[in-house]
Structures are given as structure tokens and as C-alpha cells.
């Protein structure tokens, strides 16, 4: 890449993610064209959302797709000659595929593994005796741009796979996806991260780069001038954030309704689609506002609805009327969309105003502040457990919503577990064994005996450890590491509307704070104190005072000093610490020059194990404050329910 190229890149403020979309689309079409004639597409649920972000049905139809089915149902007896399966190479899913292939002999079957063809997948089909009857391939649907600053790596359930099953297949897929990004925009000059699997990912990336280097293609890729670094956050480093209630508008929609494939789960009252993605202008404008502003927002939306109605009366001349009628179609659509959004916002508002929501938030804030639950809060937990609803609709997990959301969130297992996990995580060793035992009993009585497995799972991944296990954690210099982190990283921010803590009503996500450490953001960083230890000794008030200084765009943005000086803090965050410089190849002198000369306009933030909408909103706020783009690459967009769900033993 020449210097002038990099100049235009900076002008466009970093990488254009839409490039990926075009790439993915052409790969998909090429695969569809290998099967002649009319065909049916059978989709893994986990693939369908990604697919819809890349291509629309009209385009599929153009390439012979007559109908689409979900894997659970299969193509049935649809009158088609060919069936194309797009599934993840997951054992259970492939067994289902094999079953359907056996039942539908006489058809041409093509099984495309997403995002990569694995030996494991091949083996499952072989065991089932259908490997010879299908065309096996892969569709690299692994870096799907959901927005101009969000890429989904399409590996749902990654946290559970890694930490519960020890199945690290996903790391390879993520590494391949990141290699794809590096192929387009050059190698990340630096890979920084936190977490054991973040380290594994970084090593995979290094190895893949080395292998490229020894191939006949040579070290063709230069260092990136678009990204200054990739920051990898292993979800295990911050499990608290996803458990908390998100308080941005999008976060709340996800908590109240659930968001599926860029739309509100279940749609509006009539079941029609309500967009919940950046493609929708209304939604784009409101998704990141804080919870306190939802009321005002709703008012503004209603007013806008009115104006869009009124505009027809303002037409006076024939020409004006004609132009109005010309716009009518678009206006009606816009009007409908707005109406749907207002209905959604109303439901969200009803939820946030309910007693139940207030009680829940109260508990979260108490815990975040480091206090224990008071009797009233305990009573609330007891009540939720006693009046458990085993059939509740769980937003973020279930997709078939039947009823409009009730003002009070139903007492689902997910809701209970989120509270209990938060208690265990924040209280740490202070949690009494007696309390834990009582909870254990309550969960089993309320949700069934098979949740002994769920509780064991949660204990094993460290979300709900029995106090005996929590106490025996070695290597920590602090009695309650989380309390230390709260202070050291200024996680509890009571009243600062500018802080990223707005997304969680006073709690700054640890994941985002880690990034702020790297970017030397004054919210965590005191420029005067070069030593972190000195900073710690000073009273907290001092540190707060420095935060009020205006952030100058020149002083922050992008990954700067690395982790140096923060060793004591990082020691309390679970997992390995990663900091790798990807040096340019010896002969790539221009790459080095670039690196010294131009400051890359973007940083890639990789969430290994998913991130929440609220975290994305917090990063967007940082982007504005820093004048630097933070592009998110996440394995999935989570809420607390979808985070916990893979850990739950379902019936």
C-alpha cells in the first residue's frame, strides 16, 4: 500500500466494513450456483441471522432458491431437486442434517459448513453414513458486518463452549475471520488482550501470519494503516457486564423483547417486522440513548409521528399536493415504522417504570457499589424464586414471542440466575455458604432437579462458585478482587453523564475500562502520575477531580502505552495478559514508515464470547470522545439471558 492510499483511508476514517459484505455475498452466490435448478435452502438458526445481514431473499431467488427452511423442520417434501444446507459444524446439528439427507434420497444435497469445513463435521456425516451422498463444502460466513462499526464473527455460545466444554474450535474460526480482516486492511501492528483464550487467539494469529510468510505468496501483506491494534477481550475477563441490565435503548429492547436478526423479536402487535438495526434511520438515531431519556425520547417520537401526519395539510398548491402524493408511499412506510417504534418504546417504558424493574436495578446498584443486599432486597429474591415461571418467554433466547411484554419481567430461570451470579461475583468470599446452600435448594425446588447440572456448570465456569471454591482462589493479593477493581478502575460512577457508565446506570463495563486503560483515557488514567502505585495512594477524590478535565482528542484515542503500569490491576482480572507487536517483514520498509508516520484511525475491539449492545454503545461514546473509531468484532451480540443460556441444562 502506498502512502497516498493510506492517506485516503484516514480521510474515510478507517476501514469500510461494507467491503466484507460484498465479499461474503459473492462467496455465497458461488456456492448456490454449484447446484443446478430450483433448490431449497435449509438454515441453521445461528446462521440465518448472519445470512440475512449479507443477502436478501430476492437475491437468493435470483440464484434458484425457491424456499428457505430452518434446520429443525428441514426441507420436508418441498418440490425441489436440490437442497443446500448452511449449518455450523456442530455434532447435533449435523446429525439432524444426516437424518434429513437419508429421508430425502433422490435429491441432490449440498452441505455447506459455516464458517469452515471441519474433520469433525466430516466424521459425523461419515458415522451417519451419508458422507458419500452429499457435496460437502464450506461457506466462510465468518465476518458479517452488522453495521459500519460492528462485525459479527458468528460464533454464538462461544463462552460456554470454551469454558464449560473446553471446546476451542471457535478460536480457529475467529482467527480465520480476523485473518480475513487483516487480508483486507493489513496486519494489526499490535495485538493486546486479556484472557487465556485471548492469548490463544493471538498465538493463532501469529502462527497464521508466519505460515502466510513462508508460503509462496511471500510476506505480501503490509502492516495495517487502518487499524492501530486489535484489542482482544476474553469474555471471561469480564463476566459481570453481560449479567447486568443494559440501560441503553437498544439494550432495553433486547432485555424486554429480544433482538433477532436485526429486528425486534416477535415483531409488532400483528407480528410484522420492526427493524432493530443501523439500517433503520429512526432506530439508528435512538438506539444508544440512556434509559433515563427513554421517556423524553418517546415524547419526541410521538411528536414526530404527528408532524409526519400533519405535513399533508400543509400542501397548498397543486404542485405541493402532487409532490406530497408522490412521497406518500415512502411517507406511509416511514409512518408505519415510526408507529411500530413508538409501540416498542412504550413497552420499554412500561417495563422501566415497573416496581419489579426498580427492585432489580436497586439490587444491581447495591452490589456494584460493594454493599450487601438489605432484607427487602433479599425478600425480592425470595419472591422471584418462590413465584418462578418455568415457561416464561426469555428475551434474547426464545424467538417466538406470543404475548406483548408484561410490565414486570417474568420470573424466569435466567432472571434469577443473573441476580444470583451477580451476588456471588460481587460478594466473592463474603458470600455465606448457608446462603449458597439455600439458593441451591430454591433453584431446584423452583425450576427442577436437572438444574443441579446448571448450577454445576455455573460453578465450573466461575459465574456462581460455591463460597468454598471462591475462598480457595490462589494468587490474589486482595480479599475481594472485584472490590479492588472497582476502585482501581473507577467502575462505579455515580453521576457523570459523559462517562461510559451511562450504558449501565452508573457501572462502567470492565471490558470498556480495560480499553480505556490502553487508550490512556482520563476516566481511568492520571497523566500526572507515571506510576500507578502513586495514583492508588492518592485519595479517590483526587482521581475524580482529574476526570472532570476536558478530554482533548489529541491526548487519547487508539492504543497507546499498552498495559505497562497496570500490572497490579491486571493481576486481578482473570486470564493471561497479551501484548504482541506484529513487526513488519524485513523488506517492508514502507510499512514501517507508514507506522511511524500516519496514526491509524481505528482500533479493532474483539470480544471473544460476545458483547452486549450497551458495551457497543459505550464504545461508540468513546469513539466520539476520542475522535478515533473503535470497531467491534464480536462472536455474538449478547444480553444476560443469551449469555447464560448455553450454560443451562435444558429439559
Amino acid at each position: 500500500m502506498s502512502a497516498s492510499d493510506s492517506g485516503t483511508d484516514v480521510g474515510e476514517r478507517g476501514p469500510r466494513l461494507q467491503q466484507l459484505k460484498e465479499l461474503l455475498r459473492s462467496e455465497l452466490i458461488a456456492i448456490l450456483d454449484t447446484i443446478r435448478g430450483a433448490k431449497a435452502l435449509v438454515l441453521d438458526r445461528d446462521v440465518s441471522a448472519a445470512l440475512s445481514a449479507v443477502v436478501d431473499f430476492a437475491a437468493l431467488k435470483e440464484h434458484g432458491v425457491e424456499k428457505m427452511f430452518l434446520l429443525e423442520t428441514g426441507a420436508g417434501d418441498a418440490p425441489v431437486q436440490g437442497v443446500v444446507y448452511l449449518v455450523q459444524p456442530n455434532v447435533r446439528k449435523l446429525r439432524l442434517v444426516a437424518e434429513q439427507v437419508r429421508a430425502g434420497s433422490g435429491r441432490e444435497h449440498s452441505v455447506q459448513l459455516v464458517p469452515r469445513r471441519t474433520l469433525l463435521g466430516e466424521r459425523v456425516l461419515e458415522e451417519a453414513g451419508v458422507l458419500g451422498d452429499v457435496t460437502l463444502g464450506e461457506l466462510r460466513l465468518d465476518a458479517v458486518p452488522l453495521d459500519d462499526d460492528v462485525v459479527s464473527l458468528e460464533q454464538p455460545g462461544m463462552f460456554a463452549a470454551l469454558y464449560l466444554d473446553g471446546d476451542f474450535s471457535g478460536i480457529q474460526s475467529v482467527a480465520r475471520a480476523l485473518m480475513r480482516l487483516q487480508g483486507l486492511w493489513g496486519f494489526f501492528p499490535r495485538i493486546v488482550g486479556k484472557g487465556d483464550y485471548a492469548q490463544m487467539l493471538a498465538h493463532s494469529l501469529e502462527r497464521m501470519r508466519a505460515e502466510l510468510g513462508t508460503g509462496s505468496a511471500g510476506d505480501a501483506l503490509a502492516l495495517s494503516s487502518a487499524f492501530d491494534a486489535a484489542v482482544v477481550v476474553d469474555r471471561a475477563a469480564d463476566v459481570v457486564t453481560p449479567l447486568l441490565t443494559q440501560l441503553t435503548y437498544e439494550g432495553l429492547v433486547s432485555e424486554v423483547f429480544g433482538i433477532v436478526g436485526g429486528a425486534v423479536a416477535g415483531g409488532d402487535a400483528k407480528g410484522a417486522r420492526v427493524a432493530a438495526s443501523g439500517d433503520d434511520a429512526v432506530y439508528r438515531a435512538i438506539r444508544d440513548v440512556g434509559f433515563a431519556d427513554v421517556g423524553a425520547l418517546l415524547g419526541a417520537m410521538t411528536r414526530q409521528l404527528q408532524t409526519s401526519y400533519e405535513s399533508r395539510h400543509q400542501a397548498r398548491t397543486v404542485q405541493e399536493i402532487r409532490s406530497f402524493v408522490g412521497r406518500l408511499g415512502g411517507l406511509q412506510a416511514e409512518h408505519q415504522a415510526l408507529k411500530a417504534h413508538v409501540a416498542v418504546a412504550e413497552a420499554v417504558l412500561r417495563r422501566t417504570q415497573s416496581d419489579d424493574f426498580g427492585a432489580l436495578l436497586d439490587i444491581e446498584q447495591t452490589l456494584v457499589a460493594g454493599a450487601d443486599l438489605d432484607p427487602e432486597q433479599r425478600a425480592y429474591v425470595d419472591r422471584v424464586l418462590a413465584l418462578a415461571d418455568t415457561h416464561a418467554y426469555v428475551p434474547g433466547v426464545d424467538t417466538e414471542r406470543r404475548d406483548p411484554p408484561a410490565p414486570a419481567a417474568p420470573n424466569s430461570l435466567h432472571k434469577v440466575l443473573r441476580i444470583l451470579c451477580l451476588c456471588a461475583l460481587w460478594r466473592g468470599p463474603a458470600l455465606k455458604q448457608k446462603t449458597y446452600d439455600a439458593w441451591y435448594d430454591e433453584i431446584v425446588a423452583a425450576f427442577g432437579a436437572h438444574h443441579t447440572i446448571t448450577l454445576d456448570n455455573l460453578a465450573r465456569v466461575g459465574l456462581l462458585p460455591p463460597p468454598s471454591a471462591a475462598r480457595s482462589q490462589p494468587g490474589s493479593a486482595h480479599a475481594n478482587p472485584r472490590g479492588f477493581l472497582r476502585k482501581a478502575l473507577n467502575l462505579a460512577v455515580a453521576d457523570d453523564a459523559d462517562d461510559v457508565a451511562y450504558a449501565y446506570a452508573g457501572y462502567a463495563p470492565l471490558s470498556v475500562r480495560l480499553l480505556q486503560v490502553l487508550t490512556q483515557d482520563p476516566a481511568v488514567h492520571t497523566p500526572a502520575a507515571s506510576s500507578r502505585y502513586a495514583a492508588l495512594l492518592r485519595p479517590l477524590a483526587d482521581r475524580l477531580a482529574t476526570q472532570t478535565q476536558p478530554v482533548t482528542p489529541q491526548s487519547v484515542g487508539g492504543v497507546r502505552g499498552g498495559w505497562a503500569g497496570w500490572e497490579d490491576v491486571l493481576a486481578e482480572v482473570p486470564g493471561a495478559t497479551v501484548d504482541i507487536m506484529q513487526t513488519p517483514a524485513a523488506d517492508a520498509a514502507d510499512a514501517r514508515a507508514q507506522r511511524l508516520g500516519v496514526k491509524a484511525p481505528a482500533t479493532l475491539v474483539v470480544f471473544l464470547g460476545g458483547c452486549t449492545s450497551a458495551e457497543i454503545a459505550a464504545l461508540r461514546r468513546l469513539s466520539q470522545q476520542h475522535g478515533h473509531r473503535y470497531v467491534v468484532a464480536t462472536t455474538q451480540i449478547l444480553n444476560g439471558n443469551s449469555f447464560l443460556d448455553p450454560l443451562i441444562q435444558h429439559k
Partner: protein, 823 residues
């Protein structure tokens, strides 16, 4: 004179250039079956086993396949034994694909690797293969019972049947239309039967409804738009591929039977009749070429090669560039420039005149000369043209010389490929249409390492593949021991500036040749852990393979090793081995869980993993609806849990579950058939349902039996009582003794059920501060006002004032507010 090789056909010219005098002295081609590869590749000969031979006359009596270069030099011999071949052909990678009568296909590579075999499937095995038709990626075989089987990709063969054309007798001829040339992008076959042609693909058969057949030969043009048909009567037609339009027609000389058709470019066909080759142009005019012996055709991208026992010639269309330089009487700038070189050499001043006359057209003249050099087969003429270009260039100030340099370099490589010793007479067009590495590969097939290396260096290309091939060849041919061989290889490979990429390829060969120690030592140099794994496994180095797989960070490779171990070892050994790598053990566990594999039970059992075994039983019984069986199974699980001290809570939970199931069985006996069974409900649900059905004493017993905490019981009971509107019982519950959950839940439940009167009864029992707000919520403003006064809560009082509609009340409240605030 260059144009001596030119033959005019209307206004176009065809160049017939003598490539080689064949070096295979005294070979009689008529005794052989021949497969010649395109892209100037090798020629394979096998003695035709259906022809009779005179005793003692044949030099080659064996059935092996002899491979010659295009110049007739021996490249090698492929030992072929076995059944009669139905057909053989070269594919795009210079591998010889041989289809046997019995439907087995063997793919021989020139680089000494073992042949790859696959079968065309049961139909082919049963009926036998009659004939084959190939394209560069795949093949179609016709069985003896006249069905067609196709393989799209010989590298990954998946034999499939085309639709049944219902043929009753062998077709007169048939040919294949490769997938990249068809509209559907799938392979089609054209079958001449009766007077017509059928178009057969996987989906169906389409009769083209022709009546001028029967056709003895069909050939499809390289771009797939035209087909040449030759009828039994010798009439040649060129038609569009859909058989709708006829472009040209002519009649063949009746002298001998048609042997072959090949396309020269996309608009002219060459037909061979014994010693004669006939070029049929786009308008039906013909050019005839005579040879001394039967001629064989090889279709190329940009022409046709024709070879006999004796000579090898290339027929190709003369391009516009060559025409403008060499056509007699041409006054094109390029032609003038070409002349200028001669005149300059003769020290004539006319050279200057010529150059001046070209003037502004000079860049074009230079370009044309360069292009013409590329099209010219003769080295001398190439040089002359390039010299002309060079001369012209010197008159231009701003001309980018890269084109000239590139042409010189490319031609130098092309010419060295075309030498007799190498025998790859590729044209420049062909040279550019394949990646450079392919050409290097072709040199390596002929074991020309030195030349390959030089060419790589000359073209500034990485030479890894040359070294790898060299090392492999060295190992294959070696007779010394592992260590000596290792030293020899390292000596050479260590001198390279950059380490080569794939030691694994070399190690593989070493292993295959029995040098296992060498293979392991070489593997250590392989940078990609991923590539080491399969080879280590095949060498029986299981532990090393597992290590390499773990190092690669790719779970899929670990699975690869696991599956291998699982197959290779006894179950006990397998468990022991896998336990050494805990990460692998977890992957195995996960796989078995997802496969519902019974082996997991054994695994947990031998590992004394009691809790896991118990959980397995719990999961297996999630959908068990027979309570008796369920209890029995859970008891087994419970017994296992008792073995594990860490699972006290879990054991207790399962114990309780068993008890609960027994109680539920009992309850279920008392209900009518329409009602849903109790089995499967949770303890809380069971309680709630018992209460909802009014069976309070039973609920109380449940509560004591299961030690349900008081608070939980109250929450459930209040909810259930409000649900069934049993206000008397609710009141009894409230008054029996002080509620452990307070009275707020009583109010909340009533409010949620819209029973405000009932709710009002319990508000006074709530906290003083809450009462006003609660009364407000159910619209009891008088009481709300009183409560607020009691609590001295001015704010709430104001709210009541605003909400109340009764003027007297409003007045009272106003007074109260005044009193409270004035104090």
C-alpha cells in the same frame, strides 16, 4: 521468409510451423493408443491390445504406458497392468487419468507419487465401461448398457449418473460439453443416435430433432458456442451449440475415414483423414495439408498441433499484429519500422527517412512489433522484431520499456521450454494463461531441476517447489542411510536465503520410501504444526501427533488425532492415552455427549467420575415420562453421587426429587384422566397446584415433608389463594400469625388480580410509610390521606390532593398539608 509458412484462407492466414522432427525413431503410431496433453504436454502411448501384431515386429509388447515429450523424447514409463483401458487422457495437472473397463479409475502422476484410484460406482462395475470422454477437470464414461456416468472433479471424485437417454444401440458418436461451457454450468453430453443428436444432462434428455444424421463425429468449440458435426456421408457442418443455426457446410474428401476433429481457435475446425488434415474455415472454405503418415491432432488454446510418426507441427491463425508487419505490401508503421532495421544494418540513410515517416505512429509501431514477436515461433524472427521495437523505442522519450523487457524475458523462457531437450512447445498465449508455478511444475515432472531453478531465478519467483521436488526425487532415488541422506538434504537446503515452506511434503516422501527416522527429523523443521499431524500419525508417532495438534491451536486437528487413537487403540489404552492430554479428553467428552455415545459411560466409570456419571443419567432421563422407571434410574444416579463427597448438595437434590416423584405418583392417582399429570412438575409447581385445587392440608404436609422454608411457602400460598379467590383462607393465613413475608405481598397479589377491596384489607398491616402509596394505587383516597397524615408524608399527601376528585376530601387534605408544613 516468414510468410512462407502462411496459408491464406479468404482474408485470414494460418501459419503451419514445424515444431520438431520427432525423436522417437522408428515408432509406428498406428500400433498404439494415443493420449496427447494440451498445453504442449506429454504424449502417452500404449500398445493397442486389440490390434494384431506381426510376430517379432513390435518393440513394445508389454502393456505399460510410454510417455514422451512433444519432441518425442522419452519422459518415462508408467507400469500399467491389468484390465483393458476404456480410455485415458491427461488432465489439467499433467496427470494421466486411466479408466479401466471395470469402472476403476487410476490417476498417474509424473512426479513419482503412487497412483490414486477410485471407482465409478456399482453401475460401471456391473456393466463395464465402453467409452470415455474427458475434459481438463473431469470425465464422462459410457457403460456397456449405454448409461452415462460423470465425475466433475477428478481430484475429489463423486461419480453420478446422467439422465437415462434410453439408448437401445450404441450411439454413432458422443462428446462431452464441459460444465464451464454450458448454460446450466453443469456437464452435458451430446449423443448422436439415429439421425439426430440428444443432449443429455443430469436432469433430463433433450432431442435436438435433427434429420441430417447419422453423425460420425461431434466436436464442441473451445468457447462452447459452436459444434462441428460430421455425418457418416462425409458432410461437415458447423452449427450453433443449440443446433438452431448452421454457419458453414462442406464435404470432406472421400479418400479415407474421418479420424478426429479439433478446433483451431473458436471459429475454425481441423479434421484429420488418415494422412490428410483439413482446415474448415468460418465460411466453409477449406485448406488441406498432406502428411506422409497418419496425422494426430491436439487441440490447443490458440491452435492445433498435428503430429505423425515423423514430424510435429503447429497450425494457428496469424494475428493482426503479425499481419501488419509481415503481410506482403504492408505499409503499416510496424512494417516500416521492421524494414528500418535492415536498412540501418546496411548503413543506408533510408533508415532515417523511414523512421521520420513513422513519427507520431512510433509508439504503436513499437507495440505492434513487440506483440508480433510474441506470436512468432521462430527465434530469429523474434529477435529481429524485438530489435525493431528497440530501435523504435530509442526515438521515443516517454516510452515505458517494461513491455519490451517483459516480452524478452517471457520469450526467453518460452523458447527454452520449446527446445528439443525439454519438448514443451507452448506458445506465449499458452504460457500466460497458466500460472508460472504450473510451468515450473511441468519442468519438475521431467526432472529438469536445474533448468527449473534457473528459470525461477530468472523470473524472480520463489523456488520452494523446485527444492521440495528435488529433495523428494533425491530421497526416492537414494540408497544411502537416513543420516547421510539427511546431511545431504540439509547441506543443500541450509544454503537457501529463506527456509522453504513445506518440509512436510519431503517428510511424507521419506516416510513412504521407508526412511522413517529421516522423516521425523525433517518434520521438526516444518513450521506449520497443522501439517505435521497426519504424517506423525501415519508414522505411528501418536504422542508427537497429539502434541503437534495441541500446539496448532486447532481443535479440529486434535479431533483428528482423537479419532485415530480411538480407532487404533483398545478402549482401555485409549482412555489412558487421552487422559494424558486433559484438553483433548474434554473435546472427546464433548463429542461423545453430542453423539449420545454410550462409550461416555465407560469413560466416566473408569475415571471414577461419579458425579459426571450421575449427571449423564439425569440428562438421559430428562424426557422419561414413566415415573417408575424415572425413580429407578435416579436411584442409580443417587448411589453414584453418594460416592462423591463434593456432591452433597446434588445428592440431596436428587434424593428430594425421588421423593417428590413418589409423592407425585400418589397425587396423580387421585386426579381424573383429563387433568395433566403431576409427574415432572417442580416442587414449587406441585405445591402451587395442590393449593390451587384447594387441598390445603395436603399442601401443608408437602411443606413439612420437604422442609419448605416458611417464606417460600407463604409466597406460593398467597399467590395461589388470590388465584382461586379464596378470600377466607387468605384472611386466615394473614391472621393466623404474623406473616414472615410481611403483608405487602398480600396487597401486591390482590392488586395484580385487580381485587382492590381485598387489597385494602391488608394495607393497614403494611409498613406505615408504604400505606399511603398503596391506598393511592387502588384509588382509596380517604384512606390514603389518613395514612399519609399518620406517616407525616407531605409529598404523598400532595399527590393524593392532586388525584382525589371529592372536593370535601381535597379541602381536608389541603388543611392537613397546611398543618403539617406549618409546624
Amino acid at each position: 521468409m516468414t510468410t512462407a509458412e502462411w496459408h491464406a484462407l479468404q482474408d485470414t492466414f494460418y501459419r503451419k510451423h514445424r515444431l520438431y522432427q520427432m525423436q522417437w525413431a522408428g515408432l509406428d503410431l498406428s500400433k498404439f493408443r494415443i493420449a496427447a496433453s494440451s498445453f504442449a504436454g506429454p504424449i502417452a502411448l500404449q500398445r493397442d491390445d486389440r490390434l494384431l501384431l506381426e510376430a517379432g515386429s513390435a518393440p513394445m509388447l508389454d502393456s505399460s504406458i510410454h510417455v514422451y515429450s512433444a519432441s518425442g523424447q522419452t519422459i518415462g514409463t508408467i507400469e500399467y497392468e491389468g484390465l483393458h483401458m476404456a480410455g485415458f487422457s491427461w488432465n489439467a495437472r499433467e496427470e494421466l487419468v486411466c479408466v479401466q473397463e471395470d469402472g476403476n479409475v487410476r490417476v498417474f502422476s509424473l512426479s513419482g507419487r503412487d497412483p490414486v484410484s477410485f471407482s465409478l460406482g456399482p453401475e460401471a462395475r456391473e456393466h463395464g465401461v465402453a467409452e470415455c470422454c474427458f475434459w481438463d477437470q473431469g470425465l464422462v464414461a459410457m457403460t456397456q448398457d449405454l448409461r452415462f456416468i460423470y465425475v466433475n472433479d477428478i481430484g475429489e471424485p463423486k461419480p453420478r449418473m446422467l439422465a437415462d437417454a434410453q439408448l437401445t444401440e450404441p450411439p454413432h458418436c458422443w462428446t462431452v460439453v464441459p460444465p464451464h461451457l454450458t448454460l446450466s454450468r453443469h456437464v452435458e453430453v451430446l449423443v448422436a443416435t439415429g439421425a439426430t443428436v440428444l443432449c443429455v444432462d443430469a436432469a433430463g434428455v433433450q432431442d435436438q430433432l435433427l434429420d441430417q444424421g447419422p453423425y460420425a463425429r461431434i466436436s464442441v468449440s473451445p468457447n462452447g458456442r459452436l459444434a462441428a458435426l460430421c455425418s457418416l456421408q462425409g458432410r461437415i457442418q458447423v452449427v450453433s451449440i443449440d443446433f438452431q443455426r448452421s454457419f458453414s457446410e462442406c464435404t470432406a474428401p472421400a479418400s479415407s475415414a474421418l479420424a478426429d476433429i479439433a478446433w483451431c481457435g473458436s471459429d475454425a475446425a481441423v479434421l484429420s483423414f488418415g494422412d490428410e488434415a483439413l482446415l474448415v474455415g468460418p465460411f466453409g472454405d477449406t485448406l488441406s495439408f498432406e502428411f506422409d503418415a497418419p496425422v494426430h491432432l491436439v487441440q490447443e488454446l490458440d491452435g492445433v498441433r498435428m503430429f505423425t510418426d515423423d514430424v510435429h507441427e503447429l497450425l494457428s491463425k496469424v494475428g493482426e499484429d503479425s499481419k501488419s508487419v509481415f503481410q506482403i505490401g504492408s505499409t503499416a508503421p510496424a512494417a516500416l519500422l521492421y524494414d528500418a532495421v535492415d536498412t540501418m544494418r546496411a548503413h543506408s540513410s533510408r533508415a532515417d527517412e523511414i523512421v521520420r515517416s513513422i513519427r507520431d505512429d512510433m509508439p504503436q509501431a513499437v507495440d505492434t512489433c513487440i506483440a508480433a514477436a510474441g506470436a512468432e515461433p521462430d527465434v530469429g524472427v523474434q529477435q529481429a522484431l524485438l530489435r525493431a521495437a528497440s530501435l523504435g523505442k530509442s526515438f521515443l522519450t516517454a516510452y515505458n520499456g517494461d513491455k519490451l523487457v517483459d516480452m524478452c524475458r517471457s520469450l526467453r523462457v518460452v523458447n527454452s521450454l520449446a527446445s528439443y531437450a525439454v519438448g514443451i512447445p507452448a506458445t506465449l498465449v499458452q504460457f500466460h494463461s497458466l500460472p508460472f508455478e504450473e510451468w515450473v511444475e511441468r519442468l519438475l515432472h521431467r526432472n529438469l531441476h536445474q533448468l527449473a531453478l534457473r528459470i525461477c531465478a530468472y523470473m524472480d519467483a520463489p523456488a520452494d517447489q523446485v527444492y521440495v521436488h528435488w529433495a523428494c526425487a533425491k530421497i526416492r532415488a537414494s540408497t544411502i542411510d537416513d543420516d547421510a541422506l539427511y546431511r545431504v538434504l540439509r547441506e543443500r537446503l541450509d544454503t537457501l536465503p529463506r527456509p522453504i515452506a513445506s518440509y512436510v511434503d519431503i517428510a511424507e516422501v521419506a516416510n513412504a520410501c521407508g526412511f522413517q527416522r529421516l522423516a521425523i527429523r525433517l518434520l521438526m523443521h516444518e513450521p506449520r504444526a497443522a501439517s505435521q499431524v497426519p504424517l506423525l500419525i501415519s508414522m505411528g508417532q501418536d504422542d508427537a501427533a497429539m502434541d503437534a495438534a495441541m500446539r496448532s491451536g486447532d481443535a479440529d486437528l486434535v479431533y483428528f488425532v482423537i479419532f485415530h487413537l480411538f480407532k487404533a487403540l483398545s478402549l482401555g489404552d485409549f482412555f489412558q492415552t487421552i487422559a494424558r492430554t486433559p484438553a483433548a479428553a474434554r473435546l472427546f467428552e464433548k463429542y461423545c455427549t453430542d453423539m449420545d455415545a454410550p462409550v461416555l459411560e465407560d469413560y466416566y466409570f473408569q475415571d471414577d467420575a461419579f458425579a459426571k456419571s450421575a449427571r449423564l443419567i439425569v440428562v438421559e432421563n430428562l424426557h422419561e415420562s414413566d415415573a417408575v422407571k424415572l425413580v429407578a434410574n435416579l436411584k442409580v444416579a443417587l448411589k453414584m453421587l453418594h460416592n462423591d463427597k463434593a456432591s452433597v448438595l446434588e445428592a440431596h437434590a436428587i434424593d428430594q426429587q425421588i421423593k417428590l416423584l413418589q409423592v407425585q405418583q400418589q397425587f396423580s392417582r387421585d386426579i381424573s384422566n383429563e387433568e395433566e399429570s403431576y409427574i415432572g412438575l417442580t416442587l414449587n409447581e406441585t405445591l402451587a397446584r395442590t393449593l390451587a385445587s384447594g387441598n390445603y392440608s395436603r399442601a401443608t404436609k408437602l411443606r413439612t415433608d420437604f422442609k419448605v422454608p416458611e417464606r417460600r411457602f407463604y409466597y406460593i400460598k398467597v399467590h395461589a389463594l388470590v388465584g382461586r379467590r379464596d378470600w377466607a383462607e387468605l384472611a386466615r393465613l394473614a391472621h393466623a400469625r404474623k406473616s414472615p413475608i410481611g403483608y405487602r405481598p398480600f396487597v401486591d397479589e390482590c392488586v395484580a388480580a385487580l381485587q382492590y377491596q381485598e387489597a385494602a384489607k391488608y394495607v393497614p398491616k403494611c409498613d406505615v410509610q408504604d400505606r399511603a402509596a398503596l391506598f393511592m394505587r387502588i384509588g382509596f383516597y380517604h384512606e390514603a390521606a389518613q395514612a399519609a397524615v399518620q406517616a407525616r408524608d407531605v409529598d404523598t399527601l400532595r399527590q393524593v390532593h392532586a388525584a382525589a376528585t371529592d372536593p370535601t376530601l381535597q379541602h381536608d387534605i389541603a388543611q392537613q398539608i397546611e398543618q403539617l408544613t406549618s409546624r
